[in-house]
């Protein structure tokens, strides 16, 4: 079954690239959801003799990442009435190149941090690190609040890939607690986005810049 798992890893990496390349928010939400679902399948394929607890857990993850998160984010997107991302700080082609570079770097790092023999799937570490990097890229270079939440989710996907492929035997309670936190995080962020869009009439985080010590406070002028 490892070939199938490796196929998933490849898909995850390709999804990273398309996330970096896409400017439509709806597409981005769908891509991140697809990545989450595919990654959630990983522990089911990687091991032999999957315990029933893991199956339940994976189903919960698929439900959350494949259905609930996209739904929450889409709702926030519709309410805020945006469809395309603001022009990113780094252009799309450059983002793709950065992503590829990150993948190369993570592959190198993967050889530096060898996993114990028990790890079952090759390329786990590079895939997970490059996914985390893509998340950071979304988080830092994109302008809309929704894309930043997506970035957070993609980072979480990356961590998940690393975690679940390794520790199927971790206590289920801990995994559940973590999952609950992520869920509440997205939920709270969704509410905050809603408030931002109501208060400012937009969700461009670049304009959330009133607080800070570097710039003198602008008096008046803003909406």
């Amino acid at each position: 079954m490892t070939t199938l798992a490796e196929l998933i890893i490849v898909a995850v990496i390709l999804l990273n690239l398309s996330l970096a390349a896409s400017g439509s928010l709806a597409t981005c939400i769908r891509l991140a959801a697809a990545q989450g679902v595919i990654a959630a399948l990983l522990p089911l394929l990687a091991g032999h003799g999957v315990p029933s607890g893991t199956i339940v857990f994976c189903c919960a993850v698929i439900l959350l990442k494949g259905a609930i998160f996209p739904w929450l984010l889409t709702r926030a997107r519709v309410k805020a009435n945006v469809s395309r991302d603001a022009e990113p700080v780094i252009g799309y082609p450059a983002s793709i190149i950065l992503c590829l570079g990150a993948f190369a770097a993570s592959s190198w790092l993967g050889t530096r941090l060898p996993l114990p023999e028990t790890a079952r799937v090759a390329w786990i570490v590079p895939a997970s690190l490059s996914t985390i990097f893509t998340g950071f890229l979304l988080l830092t270079t994109r302008g809309k609040a929704i894309t930043q939440v997506l970035g957070y989710l993609v980072i979480e996907n990356g961590i998940y890939i690393f975690g679940l492929a390794l520790f199927v035997e971790q206590p289920l309670m801990v995994e559940m607690a973590i999952l609950l936190d992520v869920f509440v995080a997205v939920f709270v962020m969704g509410i905050t986005i809603f408030h931002i869009s109501r208060e400012f009439d937009h969700i461009d985080t670049a304009e959330l810049s009133q607080l800070g010590d570097w710039y003198p406070k602008q008096s008046g002028g803003e909406k």
Binding site: I155, Q170, T192, L211
Partner: protein, 489 residues
């Protein structure tokens, strides 16, 4: 554990209670019960079972005690504060627009749930649970920061949520790395087994894990350069929340770092972790010192002072030896003092309706009692003897010199002096100075006793700590120090 369940359940209940008076009494009652239970735990020292997910060792107990005392003070203050806010909800202090407050049930509910999450942090013996609890504190405190519903608090909340969540995601990665380090020897993430088998952990993975966890919890703790959310969140949230964030939450994040440092020390990596802690400690001190000098907003100034103290804690633990005791003593005293200062800053804000330092003058004439507390707080926070902070800072300095960390000691002294000078100027200007004539129509704000007493009590405790160290507290701090240095179970 009863300690967690009570605030958890009552927090949920608070969302449903519609009567203000009932809800406020509930808040006070829970704070009181929590404090009583904590004291009971101090006296009885419950047994820790190996492999249990929750248990209180000296380190956890120390931070739990601080959290509980702070929450008691905060809830006394909050009850009056909420009543005042209810009466005349908000005109914005700096820009003068009208805004609404968050519904009070949500605020009180989140406050109580926040207490539950912090209790879980201090009591957890499993690094996964610890992580989940720290993340829960972030999420539950976000609505607290957004109590005043306007643009600036929203911006602060967003930054806080995003920066801390991503930071904490890094900590999760660190946890997984720690798991990878123990994979060969089949170790899970519970603290007891990690500590007793630390030598069998894979060193490369353990180092990577420490780095990730340090960045993650360091973000939450407000160490420079990951501190950017902190001044915004502290300055925009209501005084009660700032006090809890600064006094209790930062400590909880610090506890996360300490737990990993414990594991690293047990694995013989104390030198590696020490260097990192010292480096970022000094960096935080430096950042705080520079920003305090040019500060225009007194709540932000207090926030930077928190960053400074987190730097001191990190430095102290990094130096090891006697400095660890100093750092822990400093943690306790800083929490109490800073919470008190934030309480007082809330009163100043209510009296002057501005957070700009330049517009607050002549406190001593206009609100004399508040002014006396404000100046007392200044002397305590900058480490003037006699105070717990002075003792803590002095122990760290002594350890730095005797451990031949001369460069660190010099930088430490220099930045402390800069902070003292910068804060001294601000505090003196605000307290003395020529007060602007009051508008005839304006009714002068009179601070109620209920809002002054918590700060006064906290300050008194810190002064007492400088003069006399009770034996039981000494026991706990020494026990916590041995845990950090020795890495024993």
């Amino acid at each position: 554990m009863l300690l967690m369940l009570i605030p958890l359940l009552s927090g949920l209940a608070a969302f449903l209670i519609s009567d203000d008076r009932c809800r406020r009494i509930l808040l006070l009652a829970v704070a009181g019960i929590h404090l009583a239970l904590t004291i009971a735990a101090l006296v009885v020292r419950p047994e820790m079972l190996p492999g249990e997910w929750f248990g209180l060792d000296s380190l956890g107990l120390l931070f739990l005690g601080v959290t509980s005392v702070l929450f008691m003070g905060a809830s006394v203050y909050a009850v009056k504060y909420l009543a005042l806010e209810k009466r005349d909800p908000g005109e914005d202090s700096d820009e003068g627009f009208i805004f609404n407050n968050e519904p009070e049930p949500v605020f009180t509910g989140c406050l109580l749930l926040f207490l539950a999450a912090m209790t879980a942090v201090t009591a957890s013996r499993h690094l996964g649970i610890l992580w989940a609890a720290v993340e829960a504190t972030t999420l539950l405190s976000a609505p607290l920061i957004y109590f005043h519903r306007h643009k600036r608090s929203l911006e602060a909340t967003w930054k806080y949520l995003l920066i801390c969540s991503v930071g904490i995601a890094m900590a999760l990665m660190g946890n997984l790395f720690l798991g990878a380090a123990g994979l060969r020897s089949g170790l899970a993430l519970d603290l007891g087994s990690l500590l007793s088998n630390a030598m069998s952990l894979d060193q490369a993975w353990l180092k990577a894990a420490f780095l990730f966890l340090f960045v993650g919890y360091g973000t939450k703790m407000g160490l420079a350069p990951f501190h950017t959310w902190l001044p915004d969140a502290h300055s925009e949230s209501p005084a009660v929340v700032s006090a809890l964030l600064s006094g209790a939450l930062l400590n909880c994040a610090f506890l996360g770092i300490l737990r990993v440092a414990q594991v690293c020390a047990a694995a013989g990596l104390a030198g590696f972790t020490g260097d990192i802690l010292i480096l970022f400690g000094i960096l935080s001190l430096m950042t705080a010192a520079f920003f305090i000098l040019a500060q225009k907003d007194y709540k932000r100034m207090l926030a930077y002072s928190s960053i400074e103290h987190m730097g001191i804690l990190s430095l102290g633990v990094g130096l090891g030896g006697g400095a660890v005791y100093g750092a822990l003593l400093n943690a306790v005293s800083h929490s109490l003092t800073k919470a008190g200062l934030f309480f007082v800053s809330g009163l100043i804000l209510a009296a002057y309706k501005t957070k700009q330092i330049s517009e607050v003058r002549g406190l001593i004439r206009r609100v004399p009692r508040t002014a006396v507390l404000w100046m007392t707080g200044f002397f305590l926070i900058t480490g003037t003897p006699p105070s717990g902070i002075f003792l803590g800072k002095f122990m760290i300095l002594k350890a730095a010199v005797s451990g031949r960390h001369y460069a660190a000691a010099a930088a430490y002294l220099f930045f402390l002096t800069v902070v003292f000078a910068g804060m001294g100027r601000i505090f003196l200007d605000m307290t003395l100075g020529e007060a602007a004539a009051l508008n005839e129509a304006e009714k002068p704000f009179k601070a109620s006793r209920q809002m002054l007493i918590p700060a006064a009590c906290f300050f008194a405790c810190v002064v007492l700590l400088g003069l006399y160290m009770p034996a039981w507290l000494n026991d706990i701090i020494s026990g916590a120090r041995d845990l950090i240095i020795g890495g024993t179970v």
